[in-house]
Symmetry: C2
Subunit: 229 residues, 2 copies
DNA sequence: GGGTCCTCCCGTACGCTGTATCGCTTCTCC
DNA sequence: GGAGAAGCGATACAGCGTACGGGAGGACCC
């Protein structure tokens, strides 16, 4: 039955079925393995089924559509972003630890970027991650709106960085793009870019913590200002 | 000829052909129109060709693969992020203006998010945008590495925010996801989330400028510290 | 003016995708 | 032991990107 509850998130729907050889867990695990080995594009229903010695349509006993599988995959590996408790007591250190952990999870499963950039992560593990992010700020005694603002800003920066890092690592677009870039810049049409990139695109340093520290400093300054005007 | 220069960015390759009815510009314009009206998923080679009264394979005279078309589309609409000169003289105001403009362009063409999150924007218009971002910081007299750090941080935050904003607006995943969210949180498994979301997910305020201001404040503080230690 | 070549355009075809539909088999429960 | 449910899958369909090869027609040279 292709039921009418397509609007209900996967996790809220029971697998429905007397499982034997297949299972939702096995399907997700197989899909994650394929993605890890060959990228997200290699994850097709037929391919995952083959990996389990089954046929394509058998998977549809456990998921309703491929999007469900992608949701489950994302939630599966976002679990790796969980930080061992207890969190550092300082909110900035705690927030930074969580952000680092999120980045590490994505580095371990690069395809996660393509999923995160398409959907909100609100599966069980995604919620645990969110819970931890809120916990990191709990010592500040802020109200709900203020907490959400900080959470959003830190999360936005983190995901933006992760995205750029991921795209920059794409082997298809580096050498040739750099060459084109240098050539265009050399035309003189970009006066400010020219002195910066005359010798090509420099090796990027790892600026993740620098930017995050700037942001946290700015947030901290805002908090001080509120407390002691 | 499916030439061997697939590694060269589209913009560097001449269209090659005695154009008559079709042209690269017309193809890109048609593709943008389809994406604006029906989303990026509706942009298929066959569909764009039909829009121009042509057959699918005709487009391949002007592009080598669909990815090229997507690159061209992204660069086409990122032009809207260009800010009318002169830029505000204050670097923070200038940076903020550019970031606002980037956000506005994406709001005007939501599908741009799906492209930006997949590739670096380095077409002619993307470079103009980058040029402006560098120009905004030129008054600070920083060296290349310091400029790039600030550029990266601001860009990461901006794109992270835009991404979240885009995903949150997805009509498919709001009501049902919220319901599931509330139910899970109600189980008591998430002690820090519970007091925050007991009554459901609150209406989000627009925090774009708040977060960006935090980041810029943090950057400014870092600059002061360097100047007068 | 006639031949040659280059380029636009596209008909056809291939391998791939997600998934609707329906039927078979096997297990569970009364 | 009969009935119903549930796992599994064969088949099929519409759609995708694009490789290949051919026809049409303008541009150029002799």
């Amino acid at each position: 039955m292709t039921s009418e509850n397509g609007a209900v998130p996967v996790w809220a729907r029971p697998p429905a079925g007397r499982r034997t050889t297949l299972s939702r867990e096995a399907i997700v695990a197989a899909a994650v393995a394929v993605a890890d080995a060959e990228g997200l594009a290699a994850v097709s229903i037929r391919r995952v089924a083959a990996e389990l010695g089954a046929r394509a349509m058998s998977l549809y006993t456990y998921i309703e559509r491929k999007e469900d599988l992608l949701d489950l995959m994302a939630d599966e590996v976002i679990a790796e972003a969980h930080v061992a408790e207890p969190l550092p007591s300082d909110w900035r250190e705690a927030t930074m630890t969580i952000a680092r952990s999120e980045r590490a999870a994505v580095r371990h499963h690069p395809w996660l970027v393509e999923l995160i950039s398409r959907r909100e992560a609100v599966g069980p593990n995604g919620l645990r991650h969110l819970e931890q992010s809120v916990a990191a700020l709990s010592g500040l005694g802020l109200d709900r709106a203020a907490t959400l603002r900080i959470l959003a800003a830190v999360g936005d920066y983190t995901r933006g960085f992760i995205l750029r890092e991921h795209n920059a690592a794409d082997p298809r677009r580096t050498a040739a793009v750099d060459r084109y870039f240098k050539e265009r810049v050399g035309t003189g049409a970009y006066p400010h870019l020219e002195p910066m990139f005359r010798d090509g695109v420099p090796e990027q340093e790892d600026t993740f913590e620098i930017g995050l520290t700037w942001l946290l400093n700015g947030i901290a300054a805002g908090l001080d200002r509120e407390e002691s005007p």
